[in-house]
Symmetry: D2
Subunit: 264 residues, 4 copies
Amino acid sequence: MRIGLIGFGRAGRAVAALLMQQDDVSLEWVVRRTSHGGHGSASSMLGVESSSPARMISADCVTAAALLDRHPVDAIIDFSSQSGIDYYGEAAADRGVAIVCAVSAFDECALARIERWSLTTRVLWSPNITIGINFMLLAAKTLQAIAPWADIEIMEEHFKAKPEVSGTAIRLATGLDQDPRDIKTVRAGGIIGTHEVLFGFPYQTVRLRHESLAREAFGDGALFAAQHIVNLPCGLYRMEDILLPYFSSDAVTPREPAGASGAI
Amino acid sequence: MRIGLIGFGRAGRAVAALLMQQDDVSLEWVVRRTSHGGHGSASSMLGVESSSPARMISADCVTAAALLDRHPVDAIIDFSSQSGIDYYGEAAADRGVAIVCAVSAFDECALARIERWSLTTRVLWSPNITIGINFMLLAAKTLQAIAPWADIEIMEEHFKAKPEVSGTAIRLATGLDQDPRDIKTVRAGGIIGTHEVLFGFPYQTVRLRHESLAREAFGDGALFAAQHIVNLPCGLYRMEDILLPYFSSDAVTPREPAGASGAI
Amino acid sequence: MRIGLIGFGRAGRAVAALLMQQDDVSLEWVVRRTSHGGHGSASSMLGVESSSPARMISADCVTAAALLDRHPVDAIIDFSSQSGIDYYGEAAADRGVAIVCAVSAFDECALARIERWSLTTRVLWSPNITIGINFMLLAAKTLQAIAPWADIEIMEEHFKAKPEVSGTAIRLATGLDQDPRDIKTVRAGGIIGTHEVLFGFPYQTVRLRHESLAREAFGDGALFAAQHIVNLPCGLYRMEDILLPYFSSDAVTPREPAGASGAI
Amino acid sequence: MRIGLIGFGRAGRAVAALLMQQDDVSLEWVVRRTSHGGHGSASSMLGVESSSPARMISADCVTAAALLDRHPVDAIIDFSSQSGIDYYGEAAADRGVAIVCAVSAFDECALARIERWSLTTRVLWSPNITIGINFMLLAAKTLQAIAPWADIEIMEEHFKAKPEVSGTAIRLATGLDQDPRDIKTVRAGGIIGTHEVLFGFPYQTVRLRHESLAREAFGDGALFAAQHIVNLPCGLYRMEDILLPYFSSDAVTPREPAGASGAI
């Protein structure tokens, strides 16, 4: 699979490093806004050995259309900022190149453009693109459906300097019909990011807990998303949609005998 | 819903108390092996106010067939011992009365009889009949399918005197293709029961953790199971089967625009 | 050691059961307000075998002075209500009988009386009398002194119906100079009581976490307190004071060689 | 305070970065075995702004004696390997320069030399030099002394590839008279390092839990140690010894009245 990366900040570098270590992935290029400090390939810049070309490209030197024609890719992974998508969006949509975007927010106009592009290609947009968090949301929704009487509490822990409530926690809350103002927000030390959904029953608790060990946590989610959406119809997706098919329902049919200790 | 309870030990009493507090449930009777200490109704014996008859019945005073004919029920909940099912199994199967059994183990002969009975009624057998643990098993299986490369560890904590490894932990292990000998077994103080399935990724962890707050944790699972299986075809079920339909899969279709903060 | 217990509600019964199972303790009597339902000894009422007399006494049948003269004790353990101490306080102070009181609050007048009584006997008063919580407070104060730059967060989890913020959490907060309004309060299911003090450093976290497994958690703390204060001078104590000597300071002297893997 | 650093591997770089950001510390130099790749100052090599000289020194270019005479320091912090101390040990001991060493192990001969050096300077050696872990060991010992009847379990979690049981966990175990073979060892994903000491009581649990958020966790412990031992008499110390004075014992004297909500 050929991938192009947009953005080379902290998250972008982490994702680039991860992609370059995958055998079945070729990181064709990395686009930054301008060419400052360092040239050539992301491989040498990050000190990561790789067979990927990983060409460092400046957005002010070549258009996305020209880049995609010269070095085509199957998917673009975007870890830049809100303006990044305007560089490649049109050209990607025209060529049916899949888009995996992890930018944190878009204004209404950008969203309108994204919708239009989703008519001719697949676009996945998730500010939090980790497999773990998106799994947790779906698993929590499932347990809520099983036991709607259970009490739910959402807790999130982050480094001291993070000013606002975790956007991920807010989405967990709204996804579970909880008031985001009830989110328990812990700010201490250098905690990278921890989220917990607690289900309280009369005589038991179930906790779903996600801990980020490093900011690189987004990398495998982005790759996972790219690998999945290239096979989907055109449209606009969230990470949730990619995971949902794994929560597969079998018709409830009788099982064969479980054996002496077969049942759980 | 009319329910008959088998067993009045610690777990049975807890379940009886819980059933008697449900508005939509009538606990018709509770069967004990012999009539020792206390008569009349479970309501007065446990000091729980209830509109349920909750007649205390001795197994040596009346056959299950006679009991079921005189005071029919929709489901029997069994928290007794391995021999309990021989009291009511045949009679329940003959009358199509659903059976929810939480006994910890059955030998081969008993299993053969249970299979036979499952031809004419619904039988659910789960030594661990809590909603939480069974949810965890299914959620863990789902995450394993999403990310088969993730490392899995299973931990269980129980009171100091519990000699053997948790049977629940063993089933979690085998359900996830893990070696039960790798289960981390903690024995300390009066811990009632805690189980955790840890998924380790390169840059994140996901923990599914279940804590029993009291031995009464089984009560709502037993009731949940009874309420669900009365609507199922005849056959032999595990708690897992009852929960699986909640892990519903939607076809992955494009979503409408998510809005400025719509994606997670 | 001879002990007299005041109060036979939920906590009192739990403490009585615990005391009666101690070899080196004789529970002489249990005082309730009036004699309702059940007589004789706490042993038979609770179904706990014991060599303790555990006489059930009604406060409206005998004065504390008469009771203490007839069946003297070394310490009184009080798990009743705010008015309980007025029954025995004067008589205990006159006779130098130690008092261990776990009542949650006292008004100013009661406190004045308690101070007066502490002139002639030892009085320990701690609404939360568990060894664990009091240890946690002292350990947290110690870590705060070692690393005053670390961020501190306090979290508490309780059953859904508990309306107010945990008094124990408030004391942890004030003991650590934290604003009680920053306490993270979780209300879910039937959680009995969990408290956590989190220390956040730039690259590590330290968590001190206490979980009550049952409301009987107070029992061993009350006994521990009683055993310790009988040896102390007259005065008014908190559970903290009883534990503080265990946080012992050695002069920092050079150590002998640690061996190949001796250092931690 | 003037500090010299030995070692510029992963841990050394992290410590150097931390030291260079302290206002009251001047990182005079960093010694590596040979001069490979990069010269000048650690500040420019790591991209950290600092007023510290942080001269990069090659051990094969200058002796420790000459270095200490030309650029004297108050303390040497050593994050190199077992052979590092032979570079500077003698020269530091001769000049009374304090040594803080975080190397993981020393053989018998090296230990004999270290003992000799400790006669003329202060040497602190702790393979795990984090404040958090060393605090935990002392706090755990304290709780064990308060409640010797409590059950203790030790758990440690690390990245999948770590082959051996955590040395830190082994020291926690031996420090608490626990069998190191009972340590619960979890290996999963990229977990940097988590240690937990669990105390199990009949009705409560106390957990002391330490989590490393990054390998830089050692930095503030090393600095803390350096700042403390420069004031101590000559001798051989462990991190434990530096923390112990904070676990201060007051004579147990009566407290003034606690007020209506004064007690905990």
